[in-house]
């Protein structure tokens, strides 16, 4: 146990927008800066020097090598606030939170901001790889003859650009196709996926209605709520959608129970209790502990998005808690089937014994405590922004619940990784 725990003071995000819609012309830097400024405004931090700002983006232009620092320089924070970028696919936001929280726990910084941003609209389209090689060689060529020779290597086909793909480099399968494999393996049905998706929309809409997001979201470019949200979404309407991932009659994953490509940004303000008190800022929750796991989805038996299945039992053992010890569970809804497969794995005695090395499974959770204010299926999922959204949301839920309440966060990520964390209400 660290000497002190980092406090979650609050958060800010912009409403998430489906790709190529409201934020079609906004860059990662635009969105991250706006989100940072919204956070600064909420907590009166104009001109303040913070310990650090840590954030990242999954889809990133090469010019954005110093994305977070540039966002700080464009914001109202003191320019003396250092920043760095990290990237761990969909785990970026939560991993950034852990990084800042750990520095706070160690006393290396007193305050910090963590989170992430992503745009699927303003995608980093790169020069064709063949063309790039010729251009690089041309740049280092010393004689006119070499240059002429290289220019002769230019071909019309090289005009076709490199477009980022939503596929795993080592398998060539899209994330949805990977998830479909896992869904089939665990026998996840269509109806339960649609039920989870409908609940996500219902819960998110209800949370907006009760003003829950009044101090978590700042409108951006005229958008005031996540535009993927369909408050009237139901199992019946979702049942009409055709499967898009998996093959054959038993394919279950549709556009309705999978997250859409989304643009957005989310940040969390963290600090020591002392720093929060000095600045008369609230402490919503504390970061208790966190764990990151990875699985061999390339050659091994595990699904791409199943690493949290392994991360959670390791974390629970370290902190001496059971899966049932939580008031809230925030399991990132990359796909409805991912959440359901994760829960099913924790309930499975054989899996517990063979794969987790446990005598008994972690068991079932009270589903009424799961994603109570909606999650990625309704809000959308700008990859690196999801962690910040979830940390701030859960911290507020725990604060409402009261001191000592506990919440578990579980986020799966590309590359067979998973980041999980425990927060305790303050």
């Amino acid at each position: 146990m660290p000497a002190r725990r980092a406090a979650v003071i609050g958060g800010n995000r912009i409403p998430f927008a489906r790709a190529n819609r409201r934020y079609a012309r906004a860059s990662n830097l635009d969105m991250l800066t706006a989100t940072l400024d919204g956070l600064v405004a909420r907590f009166g931090l104009s001109g303040e020097r913070l310990g650090e700002v840590v954030a990242g983006a999954v889809l990133k232009h090469s010019r954005d090598f110093n994305l977070t620092r540039e966002a700080v320089l464009g914001s109202r924070l003191s320019p003396a606030t250092p920043a760095y970028d990290i990237q761990q696919a969909c785990g970026t936001g939560l991993e950034a939170t852990i990084a800042v929280a750990n520095k706070i726990a160690l006393g290396q910084v007193e305050s910090g901001v963590a989170g992430g941003v992503d745009t699927a609209s303003d995608a980093p389209i790169a020069v064709n790889e063949d063309l790039r090689k010729v251009l690089v060689a041309l740049n280092s060529a010393r004689s006119l003859g070499d240059r002429v020779k290289l220019v002769g290597k230019l071909r019309p086909g090289q005009i076709v650009p490199e477009i980022p793909r939503n596929a795993e480099p080592r398998t060539g399968l899209s994330m949805g196709e990977h998830a479909a494999v896992t869904a089939k393996e665990w026998g996840i049905g269509r109806t339960e996926q649609d039920e989870l998706a409908a609940a996500s929309h219902r819960n998110l809409a209800a949370a907006y209605e009760r003003g829950f997001f009044d101090d978590l979201v700042t409108p951006y470019l005229g958008l005031t709520r996540d535009d993927n949200l369909r408050p009237d979404s139901s199992v019946e309407t979702l049942a009409k959608l055709k499967p898009v991932f998996g093959r054959g009659d038993d394919a279950t994953m549709t556009a309705g129970n999978s997250t859409p490509l989304t643009d957005g940004a989310a940040l969390v303000l963290l600090g020591s209790d002392e720093w929060a008190a000095e600045h008369r800022l609230p402490v919503l929750a504390h970061v208790v502990d966190a764990e990151t796991a990875a699985v061999d989805y390339v050659h091994g038996r595990d699904g791409l998005l199943t690493a949290p299945v392994f991360a959670v039992p390791r974390l629970l053992e370290r902190v001496g808690m059971s899966l049932q010890d939580f008031d809230f569970y925030e399991i990132h809804e990359a796909f409805a089937s991912t959440v359901l497969a994760t829960l099913k794995a924790w309930e499975d005695p054989a899996f517990a014994k063979e794969r987790l090395g446990l005598d008994a499974p972690l068991g079932a959770i009270d589903r009424s405590r799961l994603n109570v204010t909606g999650s990625s299926l309704a809000a959308g999922h700008p990859f690196a922004a999801t962690g910040g959204r979830i940390v701030a949301t859960l911290a507020k839920l725990l604060h409402e619940k009261g001191p000592g309440s506990r919440g578990l966060i579980s986020i799966c990520a590309a590359g067979g990784q998973g980041v999980v964390a425990i927060l305790e209400g303050a």
């Binding site: 600064v40 405004a41 909420r42 009166g44 700042t218």
Partner: protein, 458 residues
Amino acid sequence: MPPSKMPADTLRNWSNTGLARRLGAPRIPVLRRYSPGQPLLEGGPALVAAVGDGRFAKPIAALVAEHGATVVTETGDEKLAAVVLDLTEIATLSELAEAQRILTPAVRKLAPSGRLLLLGPVSGDGRHGDHRHSQGNAEAVAVAQALDGLVRSVAKELRAGATANMVVVDVDTTPAAVESTVRFLLSARSAYVDGQVVHVGAAEPAGVADPQRPLAGRVAVVTGAARGIGAAIADTLARDGATIVAVDVPAAGEGLAAVANRTGGTALQLDITASDAASRLLAFVEERFGRVDLVVHNAGITRDKLLANMDAERWDAVLAVNLGAQLTINEALLAAPDLLGPDARVVCVSSQTGIAGNRGQTNYAASKAGIIGMVRALAPRFAEHGATINAVAPGFIETEMTARMPLGTREAGRRVNSLRQGGLPVDVAETIGWLGQASSGAVNGQVVRVCGQSMLGA
């Protein structure tokens, strides 16, 4: 300051060209407005005089001199930047005539954007039975009331951006009590306040440490702060030293964050009509600041419709935002006196429409007139806590909203006042800044119009 989307006053600009002057077109003045570091008065000395034994002339002369202006006691050849006449002790027609003899040469010499300020006795309300102006003395009461007609008329006669206003006092009002009001009405901060009569009572207010930053250290909540007049209020109060809590509906959060950040303040996204809005607001200021010194009720909406076509939704929405929320928050403030700073101030934004009425705005006018009633009712209750509550009633103010008006309507709106132009959001903000000062504690329950002495509702 944000980029201005305000419409240009083309006619005013043209009236100041050489061609317009040769044609003999009336000149629409460019008003002198406040900027930090500016002297209180410019353009000549100030004439400060009294008829009878007025107790205010000397302290005001000292105040003016302290601000670097020369003080004279008689009109000479020079232009006068200000004329201050203490008439608080006059009670007879001959004393009134004496005032005219002083004022007539003085107004001829009044400089552009000059200030005429009268101090008069509060007209007979029977509260001071032993005084010359009690109801038993009809001549004294008549003379006191006569000043009202005098100041309102001379305000209409003055040219080149000069204004005329009056402060009326009680028998026990001290010179210290009127200081912040005199300073405001003489300064360029009151550019668009004209033809107004302000009562300054007997409360003994706190002094001002730094007249350049009269709101230093004060926590100010401004509702409807995301844009327009609300944003100008936040900017102006912050310029004067206040710490801003900028409040607006969650949907306006983007503009709100910008206002909060450029004023170095804090943004609170809150629908003030929500059932728990008052408790959320108070909990917020308590947590972040431990107290509130100034609450500016500025948030307002319009849902225009002729009464014959008015639906309940339009009526209810306007009354809820413009009046209901203010009532609720004010009651909550009175129920939490520990949260009120030692010299707390509440300023409510009413409207000329609440005084004059306007076709198609029964709901809006009702709400804005209601504010005036509320302010008068709550003034004694806030006074119990050393606090005050006042209203400002803007006239035609140049905003994004007026920029969208048809040209004819806009031109008419701009010209029907003594200064022959629209006011700016900052004019409303400066007036609120004055009422928000700790040193303005003797001004309570007042409604101050910021309208360039509009003919509407006058």
